[in-house]
């Protein structure tokens, strides 16, 4: 009989021996198991805390990430603000021109007339 066969046979006997542990031992094992499961539930609760911790670590002073993320966020916000301001300026200029045109003595049709355009060019020379 080789090692594997001995192992297999002994395993069978040992498994049979498990059926006869006695009520008191089984009760004790059950109590231990239930206690362990309670601990698992308690240990599982700090999962949220762990996630918070991870996020906190990302934002914490010791990490490299905030050193990069924060300036990048400021830069992006700055660029967005500049772009917004520029658009506002352009819009204001157009508004001014439109207002000047609308408040002028000449009617709008005059600006659209080809003859008027030619007269303007000639008179400017």
């Amino acid at each position: 009989m080789n090692e594997q066969q001995i192992g297999y046979r002994i395993r069978q006997h040992l498994n049979q021996g498990l059926e006869d542990l006695g009520a008191s031992r089984l009760a004790r094992l059950k109590a231990a198991r239930e206690q362990a499961l309670t601990r698992q539930r308690i240990a599982a609760r700090p999962l949220v805390a762990w996630a918070d911790n991870v996020v906190g670590r990302w934002g914490g002073p010791s990490s490299l990430i905030p050193r990069m993320l924060l300036p990048m966020a400021v830069l992006i916000l700055g660029l967005v603000a500049i772009n917004q301001w520029r658009e506002t300026q352009v819009a204001a200029e157009i508004e001014e021109i439109d207002a000047a045109v609308l408040t002028g003595d000449l009617p709008l049709d005059a600006y659209l007339d080809k003859g008027f355009d030619a007269w303007l060019k000639r008179s400017s020379h």
Partner: protein, 207 residues
């Protein structure tokens, strides 16, 4: 040297594409393992109460530290925790026995409750339950002989043999739990199997 369970890294293929163990999965796992774990601890420490304490400690450690690990990793993790808990018990026992020896040399009347043969007899009788037919009795005796032979094995041989053939771990997993080489596991298993077969043959038991 056996690595501490704080440094457990399961390098087995079992952890691939695994989901986290739910309380039910952990419960099922503990139900499936508890009796074998108790027996393993009992073979090692030989005192029922201590064996139950060891299993309880191992279960608590598993649930607290690794309760949210994938279910596939639980067997390896539990075995490593159990073996480390048994080893810690040996250490504490060694320190305690040193003090007891020192103390008993001063006091001759030592009351050793743990090794009371009457108590052992009582628990053995309790565990047998109802008396069965002759075959059942023979079977019980064979199991007792096997368990006794296992208890008498050197700890490392017993550990390797039980992990390989009772827990059905492969050589690499057993080596990882025992903190030794795969070659050592094979040697321990081979010697253990040989010794067990010899011991049982000497008792007239054919496996």
């Amino acid at each position: 040297m056996i690595p501490s369970d704080d440094r457990i890294h399961c390098g087995t293929g079992r952890q691939k594409e695994a989901s986290l163990a739910s309380p039910n999965e952990l419960s099922d796992f503990l139900v499936s393992i508890e009796r074998r774990a108790y027996k393993q601890a009992l073979f090692a420490v030989r005192v029922e109460e201590n064996a139950l304490d060891i299993v309880q400690d191992a279960m608590l450690k598993l649930a607290e530290k690794y309760g949210m690990k994938p279910a596939e990793e639980l067997p390896m993790l539990f075995q490593r925790i159990l073996q480390n808990t048994i080893r810690d018990f040996y250490r504490r026992q060694k320190v305690r026995s040193m003090w007891v020896t020192l103390f008993s040399s001063l006091s001759s009347a030592r009351n050793d409750e743990e090794s009371d043969p009457l108590e052992t007899l009582g628990t053995a009788a309790e565990s047998k339950g109802t008396a069965g037919p002759v075959e059942s009795l023979e079977q019980t005796q064979v199991i007792e002989y096997i368990e006794k032979a296992l208890q008498q094995l050197p700890p490392r041989q017993r550990q390797a043999f039980l992990l390989r053939y009772w827990e059905e771990l492969d050589v690499a997993e057993t080596a990882a739990i025992m903190g030794c080489s795969q070659g050592s596991v094979k040697t321990h298993c081979s010697r253990a199997a040989h010794t067990l077969a010899e011991a049982l043959r000497a008792k007239g038991i054919q496996l």
